[in-house]
């Protein structure tokens, strides 16, 4: 069992959803990224998803694109990403990496899984690795005893959905809407329906991402999901506040609001 799986057992027992916060590694800088993660955890975030900044992030909206671009301009490398992962684990929360596929292939498939396990990480979310291409990666994850997490979309067909769900461990990532990452005025009505479709095939926990940015939305999603993923809303706090200390306060405040939300 990974730390992530243990967390989800615990939050289910507490009859609440887990709050999962996302931040691109190395944004705004390596040191500040770790401080921002700490501010998220202080506010009540249960687990951290660390984004591996990538040059061609087709699944991401403008907020995460800009953050990733800044991180890459800082020269963020694979070893920086793993350092930030280890620093997160040291805060006592489960940590996963979310990355497009090419950086893993470049690093070495088995090597990436082994390094992640060695640094205390729980798993990896791979938003552009289709299950058809995932065999080698899944065996690498199994060998290193880490979770491999895939995204299910509203457009995933009934025939295909069980296959994607079966490939997931840790949790299933339900993309609440058809689109890229970013904050939205409301969480799509598709989300609850999609979670229900997933749950009819598996007992693996389901976390919902894309578009959640405030306590009310978190509460709404927590009614039917085991985890609520928030990314762009945290990043915006860092982009909006010139004063970094104030940004950290805003992050903690947002985390507190969301943490109340996920307690239904």
């Amino acid at each position: 069992m990974t730390a992530l799986s243990n967390l989800l057992v615990k939050t289910q027992a507490e009859n609440r959803a887990a709050l999962i916060g996302y931040l691109p590694a190395g944004f705004p800088t390596k040191e500040k990224c770790i401080l921002a993660i700490k501010a998220m955890v202080t506010g009540g975030v249960d687990a951290i998803e660390i984004g591996y900044p990538y040059s061609d992030p087709v699944m991401d909206g403008p907020v995460i694109q800009a953050a990733a671009e800044q991180s890459l301009a800082n020269g963020t490398s694979a070893s920086d990403v793993f350092d930030i992962l280890a620093a997160t684990v040291a805060l006592g929360v489960p940590a996963v990496i979310m990355t497009y596929w090419n950086p893993i292939e470049r690093f070495g498939i088995e090597k990436f899984a082994a390094e992640l396990a060695k640094r205390g990480g729980s798993g990896v979310i791979t938003p552009d690795l289709t299950i058809e291409e995932s065999a080698t990666w899944r065996s690498a994850c199994a060998k290193s005893d880490i979770n491999s997490i895939y995204v299910v979309a509203p457009s995933t067909s009934d025939a295909r959905l069980p296959k994607v769900v079966e490939a997931c461990s840790g949790f299933v990532y339900a993309a609440s809407l058809m689109g890229v990452t970013g904050t939205r005025g409301s969480v799509s009505g598709n989300a609850s329906e999609l979670v229900a479709r997933i749950k009819s095939h598996t007992s693996t926990p389901v976390a919902v991402g894309l578009g959640v940015s405030n306590g009310a939305q978190a509460k709404e999603v927590a009614q039917y999901a085991d985890g609520v993923i928030v990314g762009s809303a945290f990043i915006r706090k860092l982009q909006e506040n010139d004063n970094f200390d104030r940004a950290l306060e805003a992050i903690t405040a947002l985390a507190k609001e969301l943490a109340i939300g996920v307690r239904r």
Binding site: P57, P127, A175
Partner: protein
């Protein structure tokens, strides 16, 4: 693929060419890619669709395109016989229209009303806007902001044709980023929209489908060589960015073991300078824009910016079938620098009265090298993939001609 397996020249049902190809895309796009694969497969076997496309090519594109023997240019290429497949004479001025008309008809077959496209030099964008106007589809073209400035004339052409042109300001502001932005649009609007990808890259079925729509180039050229000149060429040459014109002319010759297939990549200032777009000659295996192929990348798997005087070849990836043909040794890939391409550009203008696209000039420069290697008994077929009207400003600046 086990080492005991004989490499197959046919892609598998998931669009793999050996270890290349496949699908590396957000899950949200899978249903649309499945729908497209199905539409393409059924259209391939539907005589009515095939007739409709052939009729459009005859009455609108201007197919078949002719073969021109370039006798005066041949003097600069070791005296080998040189034949030009004149895709520059197609409507809209390049081979791009072959694929665009095919995919636009498929769009209608799928009941979708909106197409989106990416463009670098603007040729694919213009062809897409043209097909959209002809078939009554809404058209949005994503173009890197840097390219909208380099190719202002093509932006105006697309607008005149009724398309909306969206400048892309992310990343390097070029073709690669235009593709990213088009994919984001597609993820969001996939129910109503077809992504009319312009090259043989991207997730399955694009590399296979786009190749199938361009095969007409090679099918015609092979028959013309046999009928008009009674022989097959010793080598077929084409420039390679994403590689659509090259795969179109190569593919029907793959079974002709004695015909060499030679792709010419953009060498920019030279591979050793690091400023180039020679993905096969100077890149490594990786994943970009939904497909596994050769990629220009750094040690962390980040895509590296490509460089070429030719906007249409300025791309850090390449079609997966080319990666495979390279690895199994069926096709050769060489790198041509900006300077070599511009020399060949100038020679073709003055020796044959044909202004080629700068992309195409890379293939012509390759012919000057291969022709000298083969000598006067050699026979080369070159895909003259596009005309150079769009490049007049770039060429004038390069040759210091005052406008």
């Amino acid at each position: 693929m086990s080492s005991a397996t004989t490499p197959t020249l046919v892609e598998d049902f998931l669009g793999h060419f050996g270890p290349y190809g496949g699908r590396f895309v957000p899950e949200a796009l899978i249903s649309a890619l499945d729908e497209l694969t199905q539409a393409h497969e059924s259209a391939k076997r539907d005589p009515e669709f095939q007739n409709q496309l052939a009729e459009l090519h005859r009455t609108y594109t201007g197919r078949p395109s002719i073969l021109t023997e370039a006798k005066r240019f041949a003097e600069h290429a070791g005296g080998a016989r040189i034949f030009l497949k004149r895709e520059d004479l197609n409507h809209t001025g390049s081979h791009k229209i072959n694929n665009v008309l095919g995919q636009a008809l498929l769009t209608k077959r799928m009941g979708k009303k909106r197409i989106i496209a990416e463009t670098g030099a603007g040729q694919h964008g213009v062809a897409s806007a043209t097909a959209a106007a002809l078939l009554g589809l809404e058209c949005v073209v994503y173009m890197g902001e840097a390219d909208t400035k380099r190719q202002a004339l093509n932006v105006a052409r697309m607008k005149l044709l009724g398309a909306q042109v969206i400048p892309v300001t992310q990343g390097s502001k070029t073709l690669k980023d235009a593709i990213n932005e088009a994919m984001r649009d597609w993820v969001t609007n996939v129910a109503t929209t077809h992504y009319l990808l312009g090259t043989v890259a991207g997730p399955h079925p694009f590399p296979t489908m786009v190749r199938d729509f361009h095969r007409v180039i090679g099918v015609e050229a092979r028959a013309q060589m046999l009928e008009e000149f009674g022989r097959l060429p010793d080598a077929v040459l084409a420039c390679v960015g994403g590689g659509s014109n090259a795969i179109g002319i190569f593919h029907p010759f793959i079974g002709d073991a004695n015909v060499r297939l030679i792709g010419l990549e953009a060498g920019g200032s030279g591979i050793e300078s690091g400023k180039h777009a020679s993905t096969i000659s100077g890149g490594s295996a990786g994943v970009l824009h939904g497909t596994r192929t050769y990629v220009l990348q750094d040690e962390n798997g980040q895509t590296v910016e490509s460089h070429s005087i030719s906007a249409g070849l300025d791309y850090p990836g390449v079609g997966p079938e080319h990666a495979f043909l390279h690895d199994i040794g069926r096709a050769e890939y060489r790198s041509i620098t900006d300077a070599q391409a511009m020399e060949a550009f100038s020679i073709l203008c003055k020796s044959e009265g044909i202004i080629p696209a700068i992309e195409t000039a890379h293939a012509l420069a390759g012919a000057m090298i291969i022709g000298k290697e083969l000598g006067p008994s050699g026979c080369l077929l070159i895909n003259l993939s596009g005309r150079g009207d769009k490049d007049v400003a770039t060429a004038a600046e390069y040759f210091k001609i005052e406008l």
